[in-house]
């Protein structure tokens, strides 16, 4: 490129009137080996500008997924708790059902009779109290005759 054009571009560059394409032209001119001596001191400027854009970000990006973990941990915990309760009550049940057995049929018969006797006595207590109701009905009938 002509020296005059470069000088003009430079002037416009310092007035911030150049386009990105024109600035690219300047950068290529100053990266070439034959820069005019009186423009030599701009070489470092454009050289710096050209290489400064090559630096890269190399660190990893810590994208947090902690919130997900918390949700999954709570789900796992509730499952474990439910399973624990389930197995706990399952193992407890048989000992409650075991009410004892009698090996001798005679003893078993006696015990059954005793149990049934106790039951019928209690039922009779209930039936006895029914007499009061019958008495009450009788008096009511004598007073309210139709």
């Amino acid at each position: 490129m002509e020296l005059k054009a470069i000088e003009k571009l430079l002037d416009r560059y310092f007035e911030a009137e150049t386009s990105t394409a024109e600035e690219k032209e300047l950068r290529t001119y100053f990266s070439s080996p034959n820069v005019a001596p009186h423009l030599e001191h701009y070489k470092s400027l454009f050289g710096y500008i050209s290489q400064a854009g090559s630096q890269q970000f190399e660190k990893s990006i810590p994208l947090k997924t902690k919130r997900h973990y918390a949700a999954w941990i709570s789900i796992a915990a509730s499952v474990v708790l439910l399973f624990g309760m389930f197995t706990f009550f399952n193992t407890q049940q048989p000992s409650q059902e075991d009410l004892g057995t009698y090996d001798d049929p005679e003893v078993a018969f006696r015990e059954t009779q005793k149990a049934l006797n106790m039951l019928s006595q209690n039922v009779n207590v209930g039936v006895g109290s029914m007499h009061y109701i019958g008495e009450y009905e009788k008096t009511r009938k004598t007073i309210f005759k139709k």
Binding site: Y13, F14, E15, A16, E17, T20, E23, K24, E40, H41, Y42, K43, S44, L45, G47, Y48, I49, Q51, A52, G53, S54, Q55, Q56, F57, K59, I61, P62, L63, K64
Partner: protein, 171 residues
């Protein structure tokens, strides 16, 4: 949006975010932390990203604000100055060291610029953003961006000319 989608969205501009952060914070470690912070913030709001026309512009604005906050806070006093490792180049060792030396000069001069000019210079000259994009990120109008950029470039020119003719010409 899952992780791989997100990575796809941010990978074109994550280096730019890093470089912008480094321009302001100078230290590489600080800039890395800032970049992570901005990217994590984007990830946490990943469901709202679709509402933005340009995620890149959003990320750059966030970086700018985050870094300026950092500079304002006390942490800025702990800042270290670490220079970048320049990429390997073809020219001989002598030329290489000379180049490095002159680039470091440029970097030092840029460091002295006010924050706003640093930001604009970084986005225009190094990342080659259009004025429209810079205006959006900086929340300024285009004319103001041009004026600030022109000032930054002229300040660079002045300093460079001074350094270049140091000991040769008497000012």
């Amino acid at each position: 949006m899952n992780q791989s989608d997100f990575i796809k969205v941010i990978s074109p501009f994550k280096d730019r975010v890093f470089r912008l952060a480094k321009r302001l914070l100078v230290s590489t470690e600080e800039a890395e932390d800032a970049t992570q912070e901005v990217l994590v913030k984007l990830w946490n709001n990943k469901n709202k990203l679709e509402a933005y026309s340009s995620v890149e512009a959003l990320a750059m604005t966030m970086t700018k604000n985050y870094c300026l906050d950092q500079l304002k806070s006390k942490r800025a006093t702990e800042m270290r100055i670490v220079h970048s490792n320049y990429t390997d180049r073809q020219p001989g060792l002598q030329q290489q060291t000379e180049d490095r030396d002159s680039w470091q000069w440029v970097e030092k001069i840029i460091e002295k610029l006010p924050e706003q000019q640093k930001l604009i210079l970084q986005m225009r000259d190094i990342e080659q953003y259009e004025f429209e994009e810079i205006a959006k990120i900086m929340d300024m109008n285009e004319t103001a961006v041009r004026v600030a950029l022109s000032r930054a470039r002229k300040a660079l020119r002045e300093e460079l000319t001074k350094t270049h003719s140091y000991g040769i010409k008497s000012n």
